[in-house]
């Protein structure tokens, strides 16, 4: 889900993250099963109705570009196929994946959302639908329209969900007077809060997005070319759950991030470029924690932003040395 400001994540009660990047999972017999497409190409239909300012064919073309953006990731293996236009609605459990506009004036902060039909035994995604809220203004102008949200940018985000990616917390926000949050900056297409009207930056995937999709659908070289950071975040001897752990590669300026996902404060971040990284740990306070985790997860946000005092060296393939970052209370 991409929201104008704060909004609950779509994850259809499935957002129990199992590892870094918040891949969607389901739980069976106490075990987490990662949700992903197991048969490709993923076949998708476009709804035959446009929205003010966006015709059905412009909509389909923007969505096709968004799918192609993910398909072009060289270290991931995923393919899509546009089947045709349909009169079916998104979110009907009809066995076909439909993307399209729907008028939802009551959801005035929600630009779009993705829903799934899954096989709860295998974790296979069998259907995923995306809706875009036509109650809000949209544009497919190549350079963006300052009066409208960029459809392709939001579509890239929603297709990330369709693939099984959850939200990234790589971004900074500020509180608004109306209680929501305004995004100041982001380092990932999968950040839960959209850029403002006219901003087209999210047409391009960021390294964090590439790492996330490559970890989910790795091609032959991804595991060999990139390294994994593993470690713990602790405070006063106990693990910190829900901490956001950011790895920054000074040589390339790339960010890839993950989360601590259990009470031991353990995290792992895959897809790191070989070489030294700066490790920054921050509380999950730039968006509603439910944008990332289920309500049952006791996310701890009462600690200070902390840098690890060692540079972490990611190997080319495999795990680097495990490390612990100790944070202090706010």
């Amino acid at each position: 889900m991409k929201a104008i400001a704060l909004a609950a994540v779509v994850a259809v009660a499935l957002a129990q993250p199992a590892q870094a990047y918040l891949h969607f999972t389901t739980t069976r017999g106490g075990e987490s099963i990662v949700l992903k497409w197991q048969r490709t190409p993923v076949r998708w239909f476009a709804r035959e109705r446009g929205a003010p300012g966006v015709s059905a064919s412009e909509f389909q073309a923007a969505l096709a570009r968004a799918f192609a953006t993910w398909e072009a990731v060289p270290t991931a293996s995923i393919a899509f196929q546009f089947v045709g236009f349909t009169g079916a609605e998104p979110f009907d459990d009809d066995g076909i994946s439909v993307v399209g506009f729907q008028n939802q004036p009551g959801m005035d902060r929600v630009l779009g959302a993705t829903g799934f039909l899954i096989d709860t035994v295998t974790g296979e995604i069998v259907e995923a639908d995306i809706f875009f809220n036509s109650a809000l203004p949209w544009s497919t102008a190549p350079a963006g329209d300052p009066a409208a949200f960029d459809l392709e940018s939001v579509a890239v985000h929603e297709v990330g969900h369709l693939l099984g990616l959850g939200h990234s917390a790589l971004g900074e926000t500020e509180a608004r007077a109306d209680g929501g949050r305004r995004v100041l900056a982001s380092g990932s297409v999968m950040f839960p809060i959209a850029f403002g009207r006219g901003v087209t930056h999210d047409r391009e995937l960021q390294p964090d997005d590439v790492a996330g999709v490559s970890d989910l659908y790795p091609d032959g070289n991804f595991r060999r070319q990139t390294g994994v950071a593993r470690g713990r975040v602790r405070r006063a001897g106990t693990g910190v759950e829900g901490a956001h752990v950011v790895a920054f590669h000074p040589e390339t300026g790339r960010f890839v991030a993950g989360f601590t996902l259990n009470r031991e404060g353990e995290f792992h971040i895959a897809g790191l470029a070989p070489g030294p990284h700066i490790i920054r740990v921050e509380p999950l306070d730039d968006a509603d924690t439910e944008s990332f985790f289920s309500r049952r997860t006791p996310v701890d946000i009462s600690f200070q932003v902390t840098f690890h005092n060692r540079l972490f060296v990611a190997p080319a393939g495999g795990d680097g040395d495990s490390f612990t970052v100790t944070v202090t209370p706010k």
Partner: protein, 200 residues
């Protein structure tokens, strides 16, 4: 006048900037603007170094030598100006660094000081190999150097297995390219060393 000389010693490899800059996110603006999450600036710290060289004197004035220098400098990254007010910190990593190089050495007999002390100038280049902490990632580069020093003979005789021995001091201005760097630019630094040499 064709003689072999070996030389072992140690010294100090000077530090130098590795570059850095801002860790930027994409700002929420139509134009491509950066939002600085924090600033990072990295450097190699000074470190002790040991070396071994072998030299071959073609003439009384000119010698060609090759050798290896090993050091374990730290990379120190200063992290400041965090957007959320994190305390500044210096993150470190220790690197194993090897330089395999070759030099041409010219003895400056005209500037000889007494009978035992002779200054020289030298220049050359070599291969830089750096292993990150954990020794799983290797970086490659080149090092070029120019400098000089003095040799002080403790022993000098025309025959026998050991024909000379003495002390040597070097100062080198070095420029490294490639290897560990966060900016694509040469990294100048200074190295000083002292050694014992033996001629055969």
């Amino acid at each position: 006048m064709r003689r072999l000389e070996v030389d072992v010693g140690g010294g100090l490899t000077g530090g130098g900037g590795l570059g850095g800059g801002d860790a930027n996110l994409r700002a929420n603006a139509q134009a491509r603007e950066a939002f600085r999450l924090f600033a990072a600036d990295s450097e190699f710290a000074r470190a002790p170094a040991v070396h071994a060289r072998a030299a071959f004197a073609f003439t009384r004035r000119f010698t060609v030598e090759g050798g290896v220098t090993w050091s374990r400098p730290e990379i120190r990254t200063s992290i400041t100006a965090d957007a959320e007010g994190a305390a500044p910190v210096t993150s470190v990593e220790r690197v194993d660094q090897y330089v395999f190089d070759a030099s041409v050495v010219m003895m400056l007999d005209a500037f000889r000081l007494g009978t035992r002390l002779v200054p020289f100038v030298a220049g050359g280049g070599g291969y830089l190999r750096q292993l990150h902490e954990g020794q799983t990632v290797i970086e490659h580069g080149q090092v070029y150097h120019a400098g000089g020093g003095v040799k002080y003979w403790l022993l000098a005789r025309p025959g026998g297995f050991l024909r000379s021995a003495g002390l040597r001091g070097d100062v080198r201005a070095q420029v490294a390219r490639g290897g560990i760097t966060f900016e694509d630019r040469p990294r100048p630094h200074v190295a000083i060393s002292g050694s014992l040499f033996f001629g055969f």
